[in-house]
Symmetry: C2
Subunit: 337 residues, 2 copies
């Protein structure tokens, strides 16, 4: 278990914490080595900025015993995922860190290493932030600034009836990964190998934002958003924002080999594919005429996409189960309240 402060040398003072984080700002001139009160960003001509803030808290979005590297990765990835679904590329981020107690030096070093790996993978840098101490869970609030060619942001609410509904990658991996994190014995029950279990857990702790989808989305998608609270819930949001409905077949929703194996052992897990959270895949509505080009451009960016259904003119959002019956959508997906 990662020790955040109980043992070992603790970092005393905000300056000590900033010192550990400063290397993350290297190469970003407007971060001023984290030595100013604000960060400066010089937008490129012809671009617009896409902004997102999404906090993660211990006990809610990650577990206390998670590796500091993984906590850091996820805190950044969940924000980058939103930016990616808008067809933007991440430029930089601000980070507000709230600790219940002064963190151990070793924990902070590992946390910074995880951020370093994530920002190198996503192509962005730390621009500034704030660190404080207060009761309650460790909370990491990242605000991400992305860039998109002017007019290129893909909206949530611009889908139209008749358009093809696509989703990237596979769904349900992270939901099963979280179950495995909490109950490792499930792997055996589900007939999973150690590698398969590790794959699913990895999908939960290290989400991979679909940055390779930017060109395909910008060129072909009418609407897009990331899937973080479960397909059913997020699809319903896209439909509500767009003023249409959707018809999706659960059997068409892409699943990994590991999820397929688990569902074969326990059929009740199938709902996790439509209602489980933390997928961080991209949901997109694409005009029928552009569907093939979208698929091809997405693959060119290294991201497989799968058609799962069609936007409809009514307001119903129907996910048809494998028996052809509509899944009950009430209380599916994640809501904090």
């Amino acid at each position: 278990m990662a020790d955040r402060g109980q043992n070992g040398e603790r970092l005393r003072g905000e300056e000590a914490i900033i010192h550990v984080l400063a290397p993350l700002a290297q190469g970003a001139p407007g971060a001023f080595d984290l030595g100013d009160d604000c960060a400066l960003l010089s937008p490129s001509p012809g671009t617009e900025l896409v902004l997102k803030t999404d906090p993660v808290a211990e006990g809610v979005h990650f577990l206390a015993e998670d590796a500091p590297e993984d906590i850091a990765w996820k805190a950044l990835a969940v924000n980058v995922s939103d930016i990616a679904a808008k067809a933007a590329r991440p430029l930089g981020y601000l980070m507000a860190l709230s600790f219940p107690e002064a963190p151990a030096a070793a924990w902070m070093e590992r946390f910074a290493a995880g951020l370093q790996a994530a920002q190198e993978s996503f192509g962005c840098r730390l621009l500034g932030g704030d660190t404080d101490r207060r009761p309650g869970p460790l909370t990491i609030t990242i605000t991400l600034i992305g860039e998109v060619p002017a007019g290129g942001m893909v909206r949530r609410g611009a889908a139209r009836a008749g358009e093809a509904i696509f989703v990237s990658g596979t769904l349900g991996d992270a939901a099963l990964g979280l179950m495995l994190r909490k109950s490792p014995d499930l792997a055996a029950q589900w007939g999973l190998s150690a590698d398969e279990a590790a794959y699913l857990i990895g999908r939960y702790v290290r989400p991979q934002p679909r940055l390779g989808l930017a060109t395909a989305l910008r060129q072909h998608a009418s609407a897009a958003m990331d899937v973080s609270d479960g397909l059913a819930k997020d699809l319903a949001r896209m439909c509500a924002a767009s003023g249409c409905g959707a018809h999706v077949r659960l059997a068409d929703v892409p699943r990994s080999a590991a999820v397929a194996k688990a569902v074969a052992c326990d059929a009740t897990l199938a709902t996790k594919i439509a209602a489980g959270g933390d997928d961080y895949e991209v949901l997109a509505a694409v005009p029928e005429s552009a569907a093939a080009a979208f698929r091809s451009e997405a693959l060119g960016g290294g991201v497989p996409v799968t058609r799962i259904g069609t936007m409809s003119a009514c307001s119903d959002v129907v996910v048809e189960d494998t028996h052809g019956l509509p899944l009950a959508l009430e209380r599916t997906g994640w809501d904090h309240f």
Copy 2:
């Protein structure tokens, strides 16, 4: 006492909370009525963006019994204050709200009213954000996006030896205001009228960012930052970042009539002027030759400024007390750790 959730109708679901906040996004086209996953910002040609994030938490930055309007005001004001000290003007903000329990509808309405008043006063709008529920104190994390003519941001670390040190407004008001909030009986001990006590408390709960100082700072200041953790501590930060020292006379630090009265009753309060937090005034270093012009331009913007000392070539930061002796600066000012 403001009731956040114990009684009355509670808001259920993130959508219900977003509904209360949506009017704050009116007039900001890139906020999409809070109906998209990200916000869009189109920077004006020839400008740069100045970015700041600073969370406030119940029990640390405000008190549970504070009026929701005041909590909202302060959450936005502390960020706008940083932007103002950089000579930028606020454009918009993202807000992450973390509640320990679903908030009461009446509390949220009052919180939104406070934000509305603050953003109208400061000239910015809500662009987007996130709401979640987790244990721990109510936390409001605002990320502010400000705008400055390209090259116009005033840095923290560009002060030079020999420059005049200025501070806006008066210092120590908020520190005494906080003491009065906690112990109302102090007003009588300090010989303050009800109006004077209310003035000091108002300075704590409703900080007024010095946006009127932008032109003066941009035209004349070498370096600037806001004073939020106490003059001594923030001046030391400016000196460290600039590679110089400073000599300041406590007797020259501007104080309000109410603070002067309190200090006359209790001389130990004088240190609050140099070490008390929550001032949200601006500290600036100005070349000697521009000092008069800076003062005049600041007044033109409605902000009185007072010269309190001089930047020095050595690395010492000396605040001379009224007896001509250096104040002990160790552990003055606020550090969370």
